[in-house]
């Protein structure tokens, strides 16, 4: 993809992933994925559930052995140099519970003892807003507090790189925004962050660069704004429902990727000169398109468009293909 002026663009990358492949039995979880992460950036690994994101970062963290390809983190091989790597790489895992009756202060102190140069536990907890919770049992924490404790454990070793997997899943909007501020704070303190997420808005808000992954393949790599800009070819047009017949006409158009219902409106995603094409097609059928509005391209549109495009290539199907189906959800 195009290069962009991001933090640390000139320095050697802290993570390189080359032609990574990992299969579980017959199912290919990650298929020929390559990217690199630069020092000091927030790098997003973005995709739907089951796209292969977690497997990718598990290979980076040394939790899994790749079937093929090469992974280097801080110049180290994750499996061979496990101990050395984990001194310098912090990992926050998806769904990592702790013993229910362990107190916050105890668990942070315990994990601090695993590292050579741990951070100051009290300051870290204070910074994550858990200062008052030191004496609480893990089971008594709220979802957001558990997530913040999880971040604390990923940062307790003063890592150079932190991998954060599905950080805000299950959090309420306010807790999510607080977590975002927190991550930016961590990045500003000099930690490189790999953020795994399936929330497009999260990636758009936080990430310097993102890798879009679907069905184990890398779809695109670049700045969120850049990708959204590329997707200007993929537009969204909102119009008043033109009835069953009108919808069928819209779905049949070659430029249309998806048609979804939003209350009384339908939202059409597609490429090309979408508005003109839609209005003309409806007009030819003797229907009037009412209340037509275009919506600006977002990362989500880019993602949907890319999925649809690769889906077309792979299955060679039109609007009935699986990619179009998911895009239409």
């Amino acid at each position: 993809m195009r290069s962009a002026a991001s933090p640390g663009a000139g320095a050697p990358p802290v993570i390189t992933v080359e032609h990574l492949r990992k299969a579980y039995g017959a199912a290919l979880a990650v298929d020929d994925v390559s990217f690199s992460v630069r020092r000091g950036e927030i790098f997003g690994v973005l995709g739907r559930n089951g796209a292969g994101k977690t497997t990718t970062v598990e290979c980076i963290s040394g939790l899994r052995v790749p079937d093929a390809g090469e992974v280097r983190v801080l110049g180290l091989e994750p499996r061979q140099d496990r101990e050395e790597l984990h001194e310098r790489l912090g990992v926050q895992l998806q769904q990592g519970a702790l013993p229910p009756k362990l107190r916050v202060g105890e668990v942070v102190q315990l994990y601090a003892s695993f590292y050579d140069r741990p951070a100051d536990a009290a300051r870290l907890l204070e910074g994550l807003g858990l200062g008052a919770k030191r004496g609480s049992y893990w089971r008594a924490l709220s979802g957001g507090q558990k997530q913040r404790l999880s971040i604390a454990l990923a940062l307790i070793g003063q890592p150079e790189v932190a991998v954060l997997d599905e950080l805000t899943t299950g959090l309420d909007p306010e807790a999510r925004r607080e977590t975002w501020d927190l991550i930016e704070g961590v990045r500003d303190s000099g930690v490189t962050i790999v953020l795994v997420t399936h929330f497009m808005d999260e990636a758009e808000r936080l990430c310097d660069r993102v890798a879009l992954i679907d069905q184990g393949r890398l779809l695109a790599l670049g700045k969120p704004t850049q990708l959204a800009g590329q997707a200007a070819t993929a537009k969204r047009v909102r119009l008043r429902t033109p009835g069953q017949r009108g919808e069928q006409i819209l779905r049949a158009l070659p430029d249309v990727i998806a048609v979804e219902h939003h209350g009384p409106d339908v939202v059409v995603t597609g490429s090309g000169n979408l508005v003109t094409v839609l209005v003309l097609a409806l007009d030819q059928a003797g229907l009037v398109a009412e209340d037509v509005r275009t919506e600006t391209g977002s990362l989500e549109d880019a993602f949907l468009a890319l999925i649809a495009r690769t889906g077309d290539n792979r299955v060679g199907a039109g609007a009935d293909g699986p990619a179009a189906e998911t895009a239409g959800r």
Partner: protein, 392 residues
């Protein structure tokens, strides 16, 4: 290099001691292991020790008192609870909750947590054995084993065999629930052969004795019992215990995975099969003894019923549309693809034919029931033969 290594090893010692202390704290906060592993055996000791009749020597117990005979059993009760229930439940829980996975992402390996948990349970075992010996000797006149070496060797090998078995359970069980199921399914019979329910000598059956000698708890009882009587434990008993220790430790090391996903990928089915064999042996055996008769075309359920009625002796009752599973209201009705055949006065021996239609023909699965082993050589075999003769 050396300085880095010593620095690492020093910090690892600190990490391990903190982990062990944390595990001890957690055990104190959720004290089920303490209650069932230490308090319950100690309570039993006090109860049996205070009943005067149980302290008198008896001919049937080889000239010693019931109380003396029961002390090795109580020691084994401590070991059984800690090794088969407490340890596997904790470890499987840690894996299920992702605690082990999280530890993998730190410089300290999850084996440290496993070792800390093992150390805690071993310390509890030592405390439990010490408590029984101390209270028994101090308050109830228990005669301690004269040959301390033989006794210690028996205890150590008993611990080895039972904890290796427990680690094996922890290795294959992906969830706390499964670990508990397998643990309990092992606990009850092994507790029986340790003499928890009643002394095995009162049965006086050589078959029971042979089974007992081959099992870890039975061999452990023999070894401990011998040392309390003042003998050095027999080589056979110690050999059996050492064998269990080696085999199950190797299996646990071979099978243990830190992560639930990886466990499932490696041997996901194994634990379920073992759990089923242990917790529902009847159904497990019945499934294993199910045979399939393949027939061409797709005969209707009526045709199959007729073929059965013609082919089996008239004392057999053929019931289309029923499964052999009994419920409170009688036999369970099922779809038309099930036919049940009953025999015997109460219809105890039975077989079930399940009709599975495929593209290339029809499979008739003949499942033995009641007593599945006997049914397999009786009614289920007759049913299979009748089906083959009439339809294949």
């Amino acid at each position: 290099m050396t300085t880095a290594t010593t620095r690492h090893s020093r910090s690892r010692v600190r990490a391990f001691s903190l982990l062990a202390a944390t595990e001890a704290k957690l055990a104190w906060r959720s004290p089920s292991g303490l209650v069932f592993g230490l308090a319950l055996p100690a309570l039993l000791l006090v109860i049996f020790g205070t009943i005067p009749a149980l302290g008198r020597p008896k001919q049937q117990f080889g000239g010693i008192s019931f109380f003396n005979l029961y002390v090795p059993t109580l020691i084994l009760l401590v070991l059984l609870v800690l090794s088969l229930l407490s340890l596997p439940m904790q470890l499987a829980g840690y894996r299920e909750q992702g605690v082990l996975r999280r530890m993998w992402t730190t410089p300290v390996a999850p084996s440290f947590l496993l070792a800390a948990q093992l150390a805690l349970n071993l310390a509890l075992a030592a405390a439990g054995v010490g408590l029984i010996l101390g209270v028994g000797a101090g308050a109830f006149g228990l005669v301690l084993p004269a040959d301390t070496g033989g006794f210690l060797l028996s205890v150590i090998l008993s611990v080895g065999a039972l904890f290796a078995l427990g680690l094996c359970v922890a290795a294959i069980a992906g969830t706390t629930q499964l670990a508990t199921g397998i643990g309990l399914a092992l606990f009850y019979p092994l507790a029986f052969f340790a003499g928890v329910y009643f002394p095995l000598t009162v049965i006086g059956s050589s078959l029971v004795n042979q089974i007992s000698e081959a099992l870890p708890s039975g061999a452990a009882f023999d070894a401990l019992h011998a040392s309390f009587l003042g003998y050095f434990p027999s080589g056979e008993a110690l050999g059996v215990l050492a064998g269990y220790t080696v085999v199950f430790t190797a299996a646990a090391v071979r099978w243990f995975r830190w992560d639930v996903e990886q466990l499932r990928q490696c041997h996901g089915g194994v634990a379920k099969v073992i759990a089923r064999a242990l917790t529902a042996p009847g159904a497990f055996i019945s499934d294993a003894l199910t045979r399939t008769v393949r027939v061409p075309g797709s005969p209707t359920a009526d045709e199959i019923t007729q073929a059965l009625r013609a082919g089996v002796p008239s004392r057999y009752e053929v019931q289309p549309g029923r499964k052999m599973k009994r419920s409170l209201l009688g036999d369970e009705p099922a779809g038309s693809d099930y036919i049940m055949v009953k025999s015997g006065l109460t219809g105890f021996w039975r077989a079930e034919v399940h009709i599975v239609r495929g593209t290339g023909g029809t499979s008739l699965q003949v499942k033995p029931g009641g007593d599945p082993v006997y049914s397999r050589i009786g009614v289920a075999r007759t049913v299979g033969r009748a089906l083959r003769r009439a339809l294949s």
